[in-house]
Symmetry: D3
Subunit: 133 residues, 6 copies
């Protein structure tokens, strides 16, 4: 099920439980998903990755739903089945409709196609798009 | 500059010009970017890809800016320098602030990292996330 | 189980058996893994890929365990589930501890994240890092 | 040179300078590389990514040189030119010889090849390699 | 089985049925594969993607079998298990022998290896290969 | 220009010269491309990779031009600029017309798009496509 197995709440150390508690409180759920239970064998990393994830995915200049869509889009490009499944569910929970899902998916498909047409045509970057620090 | 060179407006066939005209009208600009000028050697494909791009990236259930952010996110994951340059510029034109850019970028970085942690840990998909048709 | 099925030892031609024998002797095992049994339909390629793998992964300036870690790291980046499973097992056999596994995985996650931050920020290579032949 | 330009030390805020100071002290250098100067427009992210990088890449169960080799290997797989240039230089500074470089590179090439042979042959994971949590 | 489930022929709208009919007629089969049944929730996209696929994969300057081989090669590089399975079957239907399969696969493996050796060695493009528009 | 620089013919050891001679004879040219000159610092690897490349890309069940098209297709998917430039030139030398180039490129774009639509829709493999060994 996972390289090192899952650490369940009842078997977790206090520091792992503290992360699990924050995950459940933040996500308003009583379930810890497999990813965190697999990562918990490395408590320092668990804490860091959770805090990163929580902070980056929370409200800011971009709506949390927009960030979920971006997260799913990247996971699709990288063919990460687990991440697609988990974050498609999260996106729905945050309000993604079927129509939004279709448009996100179409955009991901288009970008992946155009990325390769550009590469295959060996297109030079337009003068006006060159980054100028 | 490109495998087959660029087709400039003045050298373009009527069918290629029709696409160029629609690009300029849609984007409210008088410039055709290098990608389209490189693709124009294949007029059927030029027309199709432009129509796809125009239709997918236009307003719908998702805001055009959100779609640009998704497009840039995918292009970053795929390391397509041309696409990153061109669509970062488009995203700005559609209202992306620096704060939005930072949050999009952080999300892309996070997703790429987590995608690999999941793979490396060989995490099984949670029962509740399994797609059920 | 595989596109063309597996070729078991008892059904193998002498040239395939010779490779199987070398695999088992080198790895001190009596099992041929599925990859080689699937590749054996192309005996020339089987022989070459095995010799490549054996020679590259053996002791040299880098310890065989270090090479396994690099191999797993690449396989994680490429999301090759089979390769992650097989080479994580090999790495353990060669001495990878859980702590080493966590550090390798953290490095892979970090590199994947930073690779994209660099791309998204369109960072130019520093003068002092430019390759000079 | 970079999407938002570089923030030089003399123009940096106190919080950015604190990170720059730690980078220079840790790496025993008086140069800040372009990546950090580009990321500095987002000071929170700069601080986090630097601390992540510093902590993950430092000594632990794996030698810092081994981590650099893993970092370069991933960057090569992802075709990140900047990261390859910067971390090949870091690896050398930490003791990578030409022979080590050749062996690392051979391993990366081999893994990338085998990852695809496995995928193309649709090889099922061997029973003994299945992760069992 | 799929994010939104499958739309079977008997439950399909007239516009979806029209696409299904064309797929079956073109491919001389009475089965619609899962991909199209999953995509059918977005009928506009279904129609477009089918027409694109049909037109691009049909006879032209390249033989349909050659296009299938290219399609499989790309899918292997991207580790798309579904696409590898479906298009390996299509390639066989169009005449791919085992020997052709082996040669295609060897080429894919080689290209993936060399792509990384080039990146790791930071090889500059030869003057004679530079695209000149 | 390259991590370790290029080894020119006049500075090469006898074993490297032997490979260079075979490259020039096989390709009917008097130029060694940068890739081989960069790889020549590792003579064992140079010899192996050249022999692999020569043998795999030569005539067999698939035409050498078809193999070049597959090679370019993979290199485009992987965004390897050097490989795209070099092998697009090789493909032309072997008879690739502009029409063939357009069709190859369209196929690569399509496959990259469909690979992601499949992933995003989480499509299960059809029963009839499952590999059965």
């Amino acid at each position: 099920m996972s390289t090192l197995g899952f650490i369940e709440y009842e078997d977790a150390s206090p520091e792992v439980r503290a992360v699990y508690d924050d995950i459940m409180a933040t996500r308003k759920t009583d379930k810890i998903t497999n990813f965190w239970k697999a990562l918990a064998h490395d408590p320092v990393r668990l804490k860091r990755m959770w805090e990163e994830t929580r902070d980056i995915m929370s409200a800011g200049s971009l709506d949390p739903l927009v960030k979920e869509l971006i997260y799913v889009a990247v996971s699709i490009s990288n063919q990460c089945d687990y991440c697609i499944a988990a974050h498609t569910a999260s996106a729905r929970k945050k309000g993604m409709t079927d129509a939004m899902f279709h448009e996100m998916l179409a955009t991901v498909g288009l970008a992946n196609e155009n990325n390769r047409l550009v590469a295959g045509l060996q297109v030079e970057i337009d003068e006006q798009f060159r980054a100028i620090g």
